[in-house]
């Protein structure tokens, strides 16, 4: 047991990958075995992360459960893992969503083994980003997360998957390019990639000295933008968002769940973990621009979503809208780091990341459920399904309301905190973003109206296309999500306390 | 002009004539015999040079063995090689020119060499050239290794010749 208690993070991190490798040696064709094995393998990290959630001392400063191993001595890079309140929240989200996504993909029948393996690798990639305290390792995991997702979209996606997966890959790779360069710049300058050490070195640089023939402020500005663009693409911040609807729409259901639930958070996490601590000055300087883009994402995301006729695309655009609030919170925090307003905004932004993980994953899953039964995503072809599938309808309404930000459910808390935090700092942007909040309601209601209400499309009522009710497995996927949505909505203190303390210590 | 010189000139002229006949005569059998004549001339030259062992070997190996081989070979391949057709190829003129050029070059080199006017030193009284040669060939300090290699070469050539010429019918 000693081993487990001293290696929590590496166990969580590498268990899925090891399980995936092990899966390679399982006999082929045993689809059922693969499914249950993958589910089991993803549940173990979840249980471990729940266990560290309870062991975590939210009041203690710095990173906890730290582990450090030699990795690439010549470059001064080590495999340094550790979590604080911010990353722990994300780790919990990831380990929660992965088993659910795997459970959601039990209906996959093609190439099950490869599919499940990719999912497990994906989990390791995502967890690695959240856990690593070494920039080089961070980057490695950042890219590791990309590849399985590419294949998931490309192999198990729907009609336009080639275009979407290529767009996704190239777009994100394009962003990573700058990220890698910026990381190299830091590494070359300081001879270490360790985040903790870097933060100290970096912020203590004299602004009038020169680095590589440029002034420090120039170097910092360049590195800032390299980081910012990479993360902005991942978040995605308007106008870098157009890969998202394509990728989400074409990805398999579980892929969209993870994509919206976790992968988007990588970008926001990058902002919080790297940009704000490393570039406080630049973040303040560019906060206005960031807020403008965030507002654009909120408003235009909502409007675009409203204009969709494809259910999944509508949900995909809603991610742009929701992540806009995260960015708005980050912008506010960048503008006035350390003030109570900024703290509130950041609390909201981080909680919004978690909440969006829940609600977006839920929404995509529900879209998947209906798509699997009807083989259409066109809103015009649904109608009146509430009568046929009341349970599904109820769940859909519940999840939509969470996404809409109905008070009493999780989305409201975080949106309110963001609005509250950014109001005194970025008043005008906050006001304009309210327009987006309004249209959030509009598109959610549009979707509900087209899917559940409306005249019953008789096609689904009888005969071969008869719509079947959501089944037990699918309810099992939704149940934890809905429980958390309600729980956070009614009593957010349990998670917000951890986030808050982390934010207080970080900034 | 001393007797030595006259003898040398006679032998050399004979040898050269014989050699010339070797390369020009149409009949290969005759050429082979002319070769024997030329080889005798060379053996005589060896004798003049006091290389008695070489002279003996020249007679025994060349004339006794190699020339015989030639004659046998000529006879074995003689069927359509009687006297018909030219014995020289189309480029014989150019060949002759080159040979002449080579000769001219060699003469030029010899002519320009300072040591060309050397005279032969007197034999040391107790010097036994044949014995010294024999010692040198088998002495570990001297040439036993090249000697052995040469013998291996001969064996290899022997086996190779047998193999190549063996009629596998």
């Amino acid at each position: 047991m000693d081993f487990i208690s001293t290696h929590f993070l590496s166990l969580i991190l590498f268990f899925p990958a090891l399980a995936a490798v092990f899966m390679l040696f399982l006999p082929g064709g045993e689809n059922k075995l693969f499914r249950w094995f993958a589910l089991g393998a993803s549940l173990i990290p979840f249980l471990l992360s729940v266990s560290i959630w309870f062991q975590f001392k939210s009041s203690a400063p710095g990173f906890q459960f730290q582990e450090q191993y030699e990795w690439y001595e010549a470059l001064g890079s080590t495999l340094h893992l550790g979590v604080d309140g911010l990353s722990l929240t994300m780790v919990l989200l990831t380990t929660l969503l992965t088993p659910l996504a795997i459970l959601a993909s039990f209906n996959i029948t093609e190439k099950v083994k490869a599919y499940m393996m990719l999912f497990l690798f994906l989990e390791t990639g995502m967890l690695g980003v959240f856990m690593s305290l070494d920039l080089l390792v961070f980057f490695v995991f950042w890219e590791v997360g990309l590849i399985p997702m590419y294949f998931l979209i490309n192999q198990w996606g729907s009609a336009n998957r080639n275009y979407a997966s290529m767009k996704f890959l190239i777009y994100t790779m394009g962003g990573s390019l700058g990220l890698l360069l910026a990381i190299q710049l830091l590494g070359v300058l300081f001879g270490t990639y360790d985040l903790v050490a870097l933060t100290q070195h970096w912020t203590s640089l004299q602004p009038d000295s020169t680095l590589l023939g440029m002034s420090v402020s120039q170097v910092k500005a360049i590195a800032f933008w390299a980081f910012a663009i990479a993360f902005a693409i991942k978040v995605p911040i308007w106008p870098f968002h157009t890969w998202l609807p394509d990728a989400h729409t074409e990805a398999p259901t579980a892929g969209s769940m993870i994509l919206a639930g976790v992968l988007l958070k990588l970008g926001a996490y990058g902002f919080l973990r790297l940009i704000l601590p490393l570039y406080p000055v630049e973040a303040r300087y560019f906060a206005g621009a960031l807020a403008l883009l965030a507002t654009a994402a909120i408003v235009f995301g909502a409007l675009s979503s409203f204009a969709q006729t494809d259910f999944k695309r509508l949900v995909a655009y809603s991610s742009v809208n929701h992540m806009g609030f995260v960015v708005l919170g980050i912008a506010a925090a960048g503008l006035a780091s350390g003030t109570p307003d900024a703290t509130i905004a950041l609390n909201g932004a981080i909680l919004q990341m978690f909440n969006h993980g829940l609600s977006a994953a839920g929404m995509f899953f529900l879209v998947g459920v209906i798509y699997e039964r009807t083989h259409t995503r066109n809103l015009e072809e649904y109608g009146g399904l509430f009568t046929l599938v009341p349970v599904y309808g109820g769940i859909l309404i519940f999840t939509s309301m969470s996404s809409l930000g109905l008070p009493g459910l999780n989305g409201f808390i975080s949106e309110f905190l963001v609005v509250r935090g950014s109001w005194p700092l970025l008043t005008a942007y906050t006001v304009v973003s309210m327009l987006g909040l309004f249209f959030t309601g509009a598109y959610i209601l549009k979707a509900l109206k087209k899917v559940l209400h409306g005249p019953l499309n008789e096609r689904w009522a009888h005969g071969e296309h008869k719509l079947t009710e959501i089944n037990a497995r699918e309810i099992l996927v939704m149940a934890p999500l809905m429980l958390l949505m309600l729980w956070i909505g009614v009593y957010p203190a349990w998670i917000l306390d951890v986030i808050n303390k982390a934010v207080m210590m970080l900034f | 002009m001393t007797v030595d010189q006259i003898i040398f000139l006679v032998i050399a002229a004979g040898t050269l004539i014989a050699a010339f006949r070797v390369v020009t005569t149409g009949n290969l059998i005759h050429a082979a015999f002319w070769l024997i004549a030329a080889l005798f001339g060379v053996a005589a030259i060896f004798a003049i040079l006091h290389a008695s062992f070489l002279a003996v070997v020249q007679v025994v190996v060349y004339i006794g063995a190699i020339s015989m081989l030639f004659i046998f070979a000529v006879m074995l391949t003689r069927k359509d090689m009687r006297d018909q057709g030219p014995q020289l190829n189309r480029n014989w003129g150019f060949g002759a020119f080159l040979a002449a050029l080579a000769f001219a070059g060699l003469v030029f080199l010899v002519h320009g060499w300072s040591g060309v006017a050397k005279t032969a030193s007197a034999f040391p009284s107790d010097f036994d050239a044949v014995g010294a040669l024999g010692n040198a060939l088998v002495s570990p300090d001297a040439y036993v290794l090249p000697f052995e290699v040469a013998s291996v070469l001969l064996v290899a050539a022997l086996i190779g010749a047998v193999y190549v010429a063996y009629n596998r019918k």
Binding site: T242, F386, V419, W423, A442, K446, H453 | -
Partner: protein, 712 residues
């Protein structure tokens, strides 16, 4: 149990009922409504206990019941949520608990519990009736609602929202309850989602109120960031209020308090259906008639007014804001009253009258008549609930007639199809009459008179234009109410259906009777002290009780005959004229007030549609999605593809192919080939020629070495 614990528990039973019904009992109708009504009863009980205990506390306004817990971590501090019962809350709890309980009971009858399943009923559509065989003859009777259980779940959630809103001690949880009600109203209006009108109305209601909500959320955020608190007790301290008053907001000369107040007030405008966001309320009548409509009209909309009353200390800091409120209220009161004149649908008349009456309250608040507003809020809740339930009863009775004749095209809600129902449905008639008179402000006996009179008196004392507007509105109110009563109940039945209308079951009439008691009696708690004859007989308890909510005790206005006479004249005059006008009117054609612009509600819907809705949809689809995202951003992205390909092609066509391939690649091959081609002639295969060449080379090299290298 301590009072605080009870207060915490009040909202919970309906929420529990909601989850229980949704998760477990939705297949069992009897169990579902038992749970729901049981929950409502528990909440009612809790409210009554709290109310009773509140009455027993001296100077409750200064020492309210409070309790709070940590909820949100915000930096160093916690955002707390909690409950608060002060006089305003206690009174509101009282009427909310009563009306909610009545609605729950009434719904059982309204949704035809105990009736057979319908022949062709579908979920999402109103029941069409069932054929039964009785005594050898077939006839159609009302059929039970197919989604009976779901309805109770929804109103359970609704009750939860309302109770949460009322007992909250802070704006945030108030907002939570507010939005939950918004969701419920969406769900209930769209309850019969099979009907297009219901669907559209649901979305419209949600979106219209959301406009207000969004502003309200801003107001909350603003207030929170300025004061660092959202709890009423913390905001309404003198220093905080003073700070809010003196800091300018920088917008149009409003003080911070003024701007916050205005933002919050916009929320109320949405929720309480004030002009210009009133459009959703009439359409909301598409909900299951009239129960959900009554929820929207009598209970939920009062939440808006309740909030304004709650925030009154803040709002009253800025006179500009107060003027806006007064103007909107007065304008709405008159505006809605004129539209109500020309409506033929029994529920729509009530809907517009609700808007109008809410306008009264808002106007009263705008002129500072805080207690009058509270008074009218309570009396209105009772009599409007009564009226809606009564109209529901009428419609239900009419549906009975429709089932009897089998002519489904007859609209059971059109008042011109009714007439003479007085004898068919006596209980409904008398209770409706009480409600109608209370609405009109029939002097002395009805509660509506006292509250409305107080508003007029305050308006007269503070603001003459508002007084005049409200007076006209009050006259119109009496007039259209009497029109409604006359057309519905008096005269002769105008249709076969009306002739066969039937009194409704006891589950529906009992609530009517209980509510009518309140509609009369509740006025007596607030008789002004100086009222002629009656003044002082009963102490003006309301004024004392509610007045204690505020820090400074408001002065009662001086008694004046002018407003009293005015209210007498407008009430009696309106009622009288209404009866005279419509006594003999039998069809819409004979109705002289069926004016186009009134009938079409001043074309507000059409204008909104043309100015906001369509451009928004167009903008979202065409500009943002098609042009910006698909065209511009993706266009640029797609340029990367061809761009990269172009560069690639360029490099290939102008560098790789000519230079690398043809020149270097093919070129060297060609040179080799060519030279090989030329040189191969020397590969004669003739050994002597090789030898010659070698010799030539040897000689040449030898010569060169000799002459040029070794000679040096």
């Amino acid at each position: 149990m301590s009072t605080e614990t009870i207060i915490w528990l009040i909202p919970l039973p309906p929420a529990l009922a909601f989850f229980l019904i949704v998760l477990f009992t939705n297949r069992n109708k009897a169990l579902s409504h038992t749970i729901a009504i049981g929950a409502a009863l528990l909440s009612w009980l809790g409210s009554m206990i709290v109310f009773a205990r509140a009455l027993g506390v001296e100077r409750l306004g200064e020492r309210p019941f409070t309790s709070s817990i940590n909820w949100l971590a915000t930096g160093d501090t916690w955002f707390k949520i909690g409950v608060l019962v002060d006089p305003l809350t206690a009174l509101t709890l009282f009427f909310v608990a009563w009306t909610v309980l009545m609605i729950f009971i009434y719904s059982v009858g309204y949704h035809n519990f105990g009736q057979p399943e319908g022949d062709h009923d579908h979920k999402g559509l109103p029941p069409h009736g069932a054929t039964v065989e009785e005594h050898g003859s077939k006839h159609v009777v009302p059929s039970v609602e197919p989604m009976y259980s779901r309805f109770f779940a929804f109103i359970g959630l609704f009750a939860f929202g309302m109770f949460t809103l009322v007992v909250s001690d802070n704006l945030l949880t108030l907002f939570v309850g507010w939005e939950i009600m918004g969701l419920c109203s969406y769900l209930l209006i769209g309850f019969w989602y099979g009907k297009k009108s219901a669907r559209d109305a649901a979305v419209k209601a949600f979106m219209t109120t959301r406009i207000g909500d969004v502003f309200m959320l801003l107001g909350i955020a603003y207030l929170y960031s300025v004061t660092g608190a959202l709890s009423f007790r913390e905001i309404f301290t003198e220093t905080t209020l003073h700070t809010l008053q003196i800091i300018p907001s920088g917008v149009l000369g409003f003080s911070t308090a003024g701007l916050i107040g205005l933002l919050l007030f916009i929320g109320t405008v949405g929720k309480s259906a004030q002009f210009p966001l009133h459009v959703w309320l009439p359409d909301a009548m598409e909900g299951p008639t009239p129960v959900s409509a009554m929820i929207h009209a009598a209970t939920m909309v009062s939440a808006g007014v309740y909030t304004v009353i709650r925030m009154f200390p803040l709002l009253s800091l800025d006179t500009q804001t107060m003027s806006v409120i007064a103007f909107i209220g007065a304008f709405t009161a008159l505006f809605a009253a004129t539209i109500a004149l020309a409506q033929n649908d029994i529920k729509r008349v009530l809907a517009y009258s609700t808007i109008s009456q809410l306008g009264f309250m808002i106007a009263a608040l705008g002129i500072g008549a805080y207690i009058a507003a509270v008074f009218h809020l309570i009396t209105h809740a009772f009599f409007k609930a009564l009226l809606f339930l009564g109209s529901g009863s009428v419609i239900h009775g009419m549906e009975h007639g429709v089932f009897h004749t089998g002519k489904h095209e007859v609209d059971p809600q059109d008042m011109f199809n009714m007439g003479g129902l007085k004898n068919k449905m006596p209980i409904t008639f008398w209770t409706f009459l009480i409600g109608g008179f209370a609405l009109s402000g029939f002097p002395i006996v009805t509660a509506g008179f006292w509250s409305k009179d107080e508003i007029l008196a305050d308006a007269f004392a503070h603001n003459l234009p508002v007084f005049l507007t409200l007076a006209v509105a009050a006259f119109l109110t009496a007039f259209y109410t009497m029109r409604q009563i006359t057309l519905t109940f008096l005269g002769e039945p105008r249709t076969e259906e009306a002739r066969h209308a039937h009194e409704t079951p006891w589950t529906m009439t009992i609530p009517l009777i209980i509510l009518s008691v309140f509609a009369i009696g509740f006025g007596w708690i607030g008789i002004p002290e100086h009222f002629p004859l009656l003044g002082g007989l009963v102490p003006n308890w309301l004024h004392e009780f509610v007045g204690g909510t505020l820090a400074e005790h408001p002065e009662a206005v001086e008694f004046s005959w002018t407003p009293l006479l005015t209210s007498l004249v407008v009430a009696l005059g309106g009622l009288g004229l209404g009866y005279l006008f419509y006594r003999n009117v039998n069809s819409p054609a004979e109705d002289k007030l069926q004016l186009g612009f009134l009938k079409n509600k001043y074309y507000v819907d059409e204008i909104y549609n043309a100015v906001f809705v369509k451009p928004a949809i167009w903008f979202a689809d065409k500009v943002v999605y098609q042009i910006m995202d698909k065209g511009f951003i993706d266009g640029i992205l797609h340029l990367f593809g061809p761009g990269t390909q172009g560069i690639g092609d360029g490099i290939r066509n102008y560098f790789d192919l000519p230079f690398i391939n043809r020149f270097l690649g093919d070129g060297s091959a060609n040179v080799t080939y060519f030279s090989g081609e030329k040189l191969r002639v020397i590969q004669t295969g003739r050994i002597q020629q090789y030898l010659m060449l070698a010799l030539i080379l040897f000689l040449a090299i030898g010569a060169i070495l000799y002459f040029f290298v070794f000679s040096v």
